[in-house]
């Protein structure tokens, strides 16, 4: 069993309540931080830990924190990104639902380290019930003097609020999130200025993912060095992986970074192998935005090394033969899955979610959706495949926010690794319409595409 730093007590009955959470050592990090540490010392421990943002980009958290501007007399904010809308990702929901106090404790400690008197947890609107769980936990924390004025007699005041979104993937992008929190449309801002300088209400703001903020708790408890001792190389600590698709045991797994992908997919400790013991066809390893890899390249790098669940190993080979850890949304597809249809669901998603500010993203995602639809209907041509390639290459890097790239990469990687399948769709023409591109919910799945 790997080391668990976040989910160790997840199955303890009542762990969602303050009393059980405290029995299991909860709020020790807060006590330690407020009684024995300076804010600078906490930032230093986070730097030493090597913790990288768990929202998708993997940016070093300690470094981000040290960029926070601290002008006199201007409030600072900590905002937790609980928008979790990257397809294939459901770990933040699990953490908040099961151990809400871990996030609350992380919010208070982080806010103390950054000098923020107010923090917000921005949660996607569909997670209504999770918002209620967080609110109940926050109410308990106020009651116990862990939030509010003069927390634990330290002189530190802090208020934490849950802010609910309303269904927009783009509000997971940090500047769109801040716009939404200000009561506006979720249109990403042009950077710079970065939120660290001008974020919420134009004040210095740190935006971090749920899992990132939760990880601050074990870092403060045991020290940054102890955290850095877990994991592999620059991929320190543990990571929550949301595993879904054609596996025997879908769910959220806390792994020590560095577990071999093969072990993750096939071992009973994790995914438990492929549904119906069929063959693995492809994996989207880090949420819908990252490049899809065929079975051989997800299990082994192009150089033949075993591929590991870490930032570096998953990225080995660049986009030619690698992918990214991203949000940790691990979607597994067996031999019967249609890569073209899967890509269509992603592209339709990005088209639906584009905020519409940049023409390459707004128009390009729509064109790609249309072309893929045509190919699925059996009306595609070989030229359409090249056209798809051309469009994605003209979106990447040419937009205000990274949603454009996120829409382009799945298209590029699907064509790069599975071009033959696209061609087969074109060749089969209308007869492709008779092929079921999906599973039945009842019992044994039908082969979808061979």
């Amino acid at each position: 069993m790997g080391k668990k730093l976040l989910l160790e007590h997840v199955d303890v009955p009542g762990i969602n309540t303050l009393s059980v959470y405290r029995q299991k050592g909860g709020y020790r990090a807060l006590e330690k931080a407020l009684r024995t540490m300076t804010p600078e010392a906490i930032v230093e421990e986070v730097k030493v830990s090597g913790l990288r943002g768990r929202g998708g980009a993997g940016f070093p958290t300690g470094m981000k924190w040290s960029f926070l501007a601290k002008p006199e007399g201007v409030p600072r904010y900590v905002v937790c990104n609980a928008d979790e809308s990257e397809p294939g990702t459901f770990k933040d929901r699990y953490l908040m639902e099961k151990i809400p106090h871990l996030l609350i404790e992380g919010m208070i400690v982080s806010s103390f380290a950054l000098g923020a008197k107010t923090s917000f947890i921005y949660i996607r609107g569909e997670y209504f019930y999770v918002a209620r769980i967080l609110e109940a936990a926050i109410a308990e924390a106020y009651e116990a003097g862990l939030l509010g004025k003069n927390i634990l007699n330290s002189g530190f005041d802090h208020d934490c609020y849950v802010q609910i979104g309303a269904g927009a993937y783009i509000c997971g992008e940090e500047t769109a999130l801040l716009e939404s929190l200000e009561g506006k449309r979720g249109n990403p801002r042009i950077k710079p200025p970065f939120p660290a300088v001008a974020g919420l209400y134009s004040c210095p703001t740190v935006v971090n993912n749920v899992e990132t903020i939760a990880a601050v708790v074990p870092i403060v408890n045991d020290g940054g060095a102890a955290y850095a001792a877990v994991g592999i190389g620059k991929s320190t600590g543990t990571k929550l992986i949301s595993a879904s698709g054609h596996i025997k045991k879908p769910g959220v797994y806390e792994i020590e970074l560095g577990v071999p992908v093969e072990e993750f997919i096939y071992s009973d400790e994790y995914c438990g192998g492929i549904l119906g013991d069929r063959k693995l066809k492809a994996v989207v390893a880090g949420g819908s935005s990252v490049p899809i890899l065929p079975a051989d390249l997800i299990l082994k790098t192009a150089a033949g090394e075993p591929r590991l669940m870490s930032y570096e190993s998953l990225a080995d080979g660049g986009f030619a033969s690698g992918t990214m850890l991203g949000s940790g949304g691990f979607i597994v597809m067996d031999e019967t899955s249609s890569i073209v249809k899967n890509l269509y669901t992603f592209t339709r998603f990005y088209h639906h979610e584009s905020c519409g500010q940049c023409s390459p993203c707004r128009e390009g995602t729509g064109w790609m959706e249309k072309i893929l639809h045509r190919i699925l209907d059996g009306d595609g041509t070989m030229k359409d495949i090249d056209l798809l390639w051309d469009i994605q290459s003209k979106i990447e890097g040419k937009t205000i926010c990274p949603l454009g790239d996120a829409a382009a990469w799945p298209v590029a990687s699907a064509i790069r690794h599975f071009r033959a399948e696209f061609e087969e769709y074109v060749r089969k023409g209308h007869s492709i319409k008779d092929v079921k591109h999906y599973y039945t919910t009842q019992g044994l799945p039908e082969p979808a595409y061979s």
């Binding site: 609107g125 209504f128 609020y161 802010q163 309303a166 879904s244 669901t345």
Partner: protein, 175 residues
């Protein structure tokens, strides 16, 4: 559907108290931050959708222009700008759910309710929509009804739920 019903568009005192509490979270002059939370409450109170009158009322509460409310309400997919059935069924259609049979679920509901995606049954009971990933990919396929999640769906389970909701005249719970 309740479109023709003329109702008094006003929150009761208890709801107003909640609204005032929400507005107080934000710094002086930043009360517009309360817009999305209040729109959710308004949608829940007034039949699951935001009519222009409801949006005007929210604008009035926050002392902002109606257009500021319209532009926000129209951006977010959870705000219904048209009337919906008493029971709003939203089935996830994104990859992980699709891989586990979401299309079957959608087709099954369409057949059973004699409507297509985007439509409402003639008795105003059910509206069917498809939505993008709801963070329930590990328990796919799934659907959301109002604020509630229904996961690990099978066609039998869907049948059972629909029959039950129809007989009890279920109204989706929004927040």
């Amino acid at each position: 559907m309740h479109t023709d019903q003329k109702r008094d568009i006003r929150f009761d005192e208890q709801t107003m108290e909640t609204v005032r509490k929400i507005i107080k979270r934000y710094p002086e002059g930043k009360h517009k931050s309360a817009l999305i939370p209040i729109l959710h409450i308004a949608q829940a109170e007034f039949d699951g959708w935001l009519s222009p009158e409801v949006m005007d009322y929210v604008a009035e509460i926050l002392n902002i222009q109606s257009i500021e409310v319209y532009e926000v309400a129209s951006f977010y997919s959870m705000f219904n700008l048209k009337p919906v059935g008493k029971c709003l069924i939203e089935v996830c259609r994104t990859s992980s759910c699709w891989l586990r049979g979401a299309e079957d679920v959608v087709r099954h509901i369409e057949k059973k309710l004699h409507i297509s995606v985007g439509e409402t049954t003639s008795d105003g009971m059910f509206t069917l929509k498809t939505v993008e990933c709801l963070g329930s990919c590990g328990t796919a396929p799934m659907m959301q009804v109002g604020a509630d999640y229904y996961e690990n769906l099978t066609l039998d389970k869907v049948d059972e739920l629909l029959d039950q909701w129809k007989s009890e005249g279920k109204r989706s719970r929004y927040c």
